[in-house]
């Protein structure tokens, strides 16, 4: 009920009350009078009825006036103040209430105004602080950027999903050297903000290294870093050091969870080649000469015997001559020529033996669902291993045992043997033949979704170790014994040296890792948060199914709502057919320009890598996608990314416009068109238009990728098919 109605109602109620009081009083007095008194009273009252009525009305009027004043002071004023207060609270923090009404209300207004002042100054303060903090973060970022660009080592920082968050120029150059893609994309398709490191490195390898680091963190190791060596697709050898990036602890003083990792990369292909050559020479000179020396030494010692006949003596001398000559030849050979085959030396890391076994148990149990047990472990043993490949080998052996001999349990034993360590994999039941063991050793390791070009033998050799099968007949058991080099124990330093103390430089403080969870479900993701590859193609004509081909591809990327200018892919393509002169008029590409360019089977894989894990965006995407899809079979590249079409999106935003041509849309959005009808120019215009569309789509209720796709499908244009 409005305050005005409340006032009217209360006035009516007071009037009614007055009437009732007067009426009841009159009636009671009347009832109490005797008939004589009544007869005497009537002539006195009745002429003055009007007077009485007037007094009654006057009383009512006075009550109404009093009521109205009370209402104003105690209802209307507070109600107005409440409205003003709400505005102050919600909309205009600078508004102040005007004092009105009685003294108490005025005091209240004063208090509220003071509170509002306080709030205002607090807010201002917070804003200043936020601005300061942002500025210092920006400074820290720049400092880190400067530091990283000065480093002579390649550094890549990733979040837990393997997305690259930071990298330095050195890393970019290194990746470019590793890229096998043609032309301008070189390296760009491998490294870039938001790209996946798994394009370059084995996912399992990174996961394993992270697991190692987590383990070390839990054990409060002095340096929770791990080293490994890996090969790239192009056959280069990379030595990698991985360090964790720690997030913020959920509880005060609690463990800080790993929120990402830093990779420091060294391309050691050349170093390794040199080292391997040196090793090879050393090997020839030592091992290779042992047999010869043995022959010479034995023969020479025989010559000392006095009971030697002349014929034998001559033969022994012959042996000595032969062997010494052979040794001289070998020396010449190794000094002058290098061995052809290279034996890469892999970096081994020190690891607690018990940790190695625990890791093997976890892997075997989760991958193969095979029960494992520890028979005997020397907890103090350290081994020198390449844990990734060694665990692969152990798991592989376990998988063969499980598949072919149906063993139900695998036991581990770890014992010291001089400067070596014996790692035994024990099972009950029959043992296989030596030939079977040989096969297992020499076949590339393939099991449970892993596919390694290495064999168990390679892995063992990498460790300079040995492996054999032994039987324990009495216990009706058999075991593989892996002989590994031991390592001197690492000292376990107390955790506060590294972990909980804030020993890390300050410029690591800014939060790069907030979007870790984002890329899991594309459809529910906000359009403003996705990574996009915006591309365009130029073609020989409009009918891919009738032999028209792509002659140019341009692509650029959008990340975090920004067009990445430096991240461009532009490539001419040899169409392997003639170029119609009419088409040259459109795109300006002449047949001469296409001579010597790579063909589509070389370019599409590079584009595919460039667009990995992004949403594709194109204007009239159906047209370009058709060209890409027709090449799927030839190139083996499936472009099954989510696709958004700026033409359809334009139709959602402006359903009443006649034209949804790229120029028309660009004009509507105020995007300057440069280099129209080059693939790169169009891709950039499309990207800029797309960025402008995102907020407008949100106004139409289209916020996520799923919603955009759904809305696009509903537009009229979606029914047009090429």
């Amino acid at each position: 009920m409005s305050p005005k109605n409340r006032l009217l109602l209360s006035v009516a109620l007071v009037c009614a009350w007055l009437l009732i009081v007067v009426g009841v009083c009159g009636w009671v007095v009347w009832a109490d009078l005797s008939p004589d008194e009544r007869e005497a009273l009537v002539p006195i009252i009745s002429p003055r009825g009007a007077l009485l009525g007037a007094m009654l009305v006057m009383a009512m009027a006075v009550s109404a006036i009093v009521l109205r004043d009370l209402h104003r002071r105690y209802v209307a004023v507070p109600a107005r103040l409440a409205e003003d207060g709400r505005t102050l609270l919600k909309a205009e923090p600078t508004r102040r209430l005007t004092a009105d009404g009685n003294a108490e209300t005025c005091a209240f207004v004063d208090i509220i105004n003071t509170l509002a002042d306080q709030r205002q100054s607090l807010q201002d303060d917070v804003e200043t602080r936020v601005a300061d903090a942002r500025r210092s973060v920006e400074e820290e970022k720049n400092r880190l950027g400067a530091l990283m660009s000065e480093l002579t080592q390649s550094v890549v920082v990733c979040n837990l999903d393997g997305r690259i968050l930071l990298y330095n120029n050195r890393a970019r150059l290194q990746f470019r050297a590793m890229s096998d893609a043609p032309g301008a994309a070189g390296g760009g398709e491998l490294i870039g903000l938001g790209r996946s490191i798994y394009a370059v490195m084995d996912r399992h390898l990174i996961a394993h290294a992270l697991e190692n680091i987590q383990h070390r963190l839990r054990k409060s190791a002095a340096q929770p870093v791990t080293n490994f060596v890996t090969t790239t697709r192009a056959g280069q050898l990379l030595r990698v050091q991985m360090a964790p990036v720690l997030g913020v602890a959920t509880t005060e003083g609690g463990d800080r969870p790993v929120s990402g990792f830093i990779l420091m990369l060294d391309n050691i292909t050349r170093t390794i080649e040199n080292e391997a050559r040196r090793d090879e020479i050393l090997h020839t000179l030592t091992e290779g000469n042992r047999a010869s020396l043995a022959n010479v030494r034995a023969a020479a010692e025989m010559l000392d015997f006095s009971d030697l006949d002349d014929e034998l003596r001559t033969r022994f001398r012959g042996v000595i001559r032969d062997e010494v000559k052979a040794m001289s030849d070998r020396l010449d050979h190794s000094a002058s020529a290098f061995a052809d085959s290279l034996k890469a030396r892999w970096q081994l890391e020190d690891m607690l033996g018990a940790d190695l076994v625990a890791a093997a148990q976890r892997r075997i149990e989760s991958r193969l669902s095979l029960r494992t047990k520890i028979e005997e472990i020397d907890e103090a043993l350290w081994v020198k291993v390449d844990s990734f490949s060694l665990l692969q080998a152990v798991t592989y052996l376990a998988s063969r045992l499980s598949d072919e001999f149906e063993i139900r349990e695998l036991r581990f034993r770890l014992a010291a043997a001089g400067r070596l360590v014996h790692l035994d994999l024990i099972w009950s039941g029959q043992a296989m033949s030596t030939e079977t063991v040989m096969n297992w050793e020499l076949e590339p390791m393939r099991f449970a979704g892993e596919n390694s070009p290495l064999t168990v033998r390679d892995v063992i050799e990498r460790h300079d170790g040995e492996m054999w099968l032994e039987r324990e007949k009495v216990k009706h058991r058999a075991f593989f014994r892996l002989v590994l080099p031991s390592a001197t124990p690492q000292e376990e330093v107390t955790s506060d040296v590294y972990l909980k103390g804030d020993s890390r430089p300050e410029y690591y403080d800014f939060d790069l890792f907030s979007w870790s969870e984002r890329n899991h479900e594309h459809d529910d993701q906000l359009l403003s948060e996705l990574a996009y590859t915006v591309f365009d193609t130029e073609t020989t004509g409009l009918n891919p199914s009738q032999g028209d081909e792509i002659i140019q591809i341009g692509a650029t990327r959008i990340l975090n709502g920004k067009l990445l200018q430096g991240d461009a892919f532009e490539q001419l393509v040899d169409p392997k057919r003639s170029l119609p002169p009419e088409s040259t008029k459109i795109h300006g590409i002449t047949p001469e320009m296409l001579v010597g360019q790579p063909d589509i089977t070389k370019v599409l894989p590079a584009l595919h890598a460039f667009a990995a894990d992004t949403v594709l965006v194109a204007h009239n995407a159906a047209f370009d996608m058709r060209f890409l899809q027709l090449k799927e079979e030839v190139t083996g590249m499936q472009f099954d990314h989510p696709v958004l079409d700026t033409l359809l999106l334009s139709a959602i935003i402006h359903p009443n416009q006649d034209s949804h041509r790229l120029e028309a849309i660009a004009e509507r959005f105020g995007v300057t068109v440069i280099g129209r009808h080059t693939a790169m120019g169009d891709a950039i215009v499309t990207a800029e238009v797309f960025l402008k569309m995102i907020p407008l789509l949100a106004e139409k209720g289209v916020r996520t990728l799923g919603e955009a796709r759904e809305a696009a499908q509903k537009t009229y244009y979606a029914r047009l098919k090429y």
Binding site: A291, A294, R297, M302, E323, E466
Partner: protein, 126 residues
């Protein structure tokens, strides 16, 4: 000694075989020779030597294989095996001994040590 002990020399290098043969004969052993792994196995079965001087690197069958086969056959359990090898690594020595070799010598060795080792294995005195 009623009958001289039999020794089999299994090595594919004639240049060492000639010395070993002379040396062992000089010590009064009955010596036979095998030029590869398979021949060695055959001679061990036919001649049942008391001791085999077994080279690791041989064609057809390696010394490790021969050793394992001999030790797996109960009929041949009395055959002593002395492995001679140009592979000097600890791991290989460990493997040889684990597979049942009675002794292991790395090339080059002193013939005096070899003779001592042989006598020790055969429980005879020089």
């Amino acid at each position: 000694m009623t009958q001289s002990k039999k020794i089999l020399i299994a090595d594919d290098e004639p240049n060492i075989v000639i010395s070993l043969e002379f040396l062992m004969k000089r010590e009064g052993f009955d010596v036979s020779i095998a030029g590869d792994g398979e021949e060695a196995i055959a001679k061990i079965r036919s001649d049942s030597p008391d001791l085999v001087l077994l080279d690791v690197m041989m064609p057809k069958k390696s010394g490790f294989d021969v050793c394992q086969e001999v030790k797996a056959d109960p009929a041949l359990s009395s055959t002593r095996i002395l492995m001679l090898t140009a592979k000097g690594r600890d791991t290989e020595m460990a493997k040889g001994l684990a597979l049942g070799a009675d002794a292991y010598m790395t090339k080059p060795f002193s013939t005096k040590d070899l003779v001592e080792q042989v006598h020790q294995l055969l429980g005879s005195n020089a």
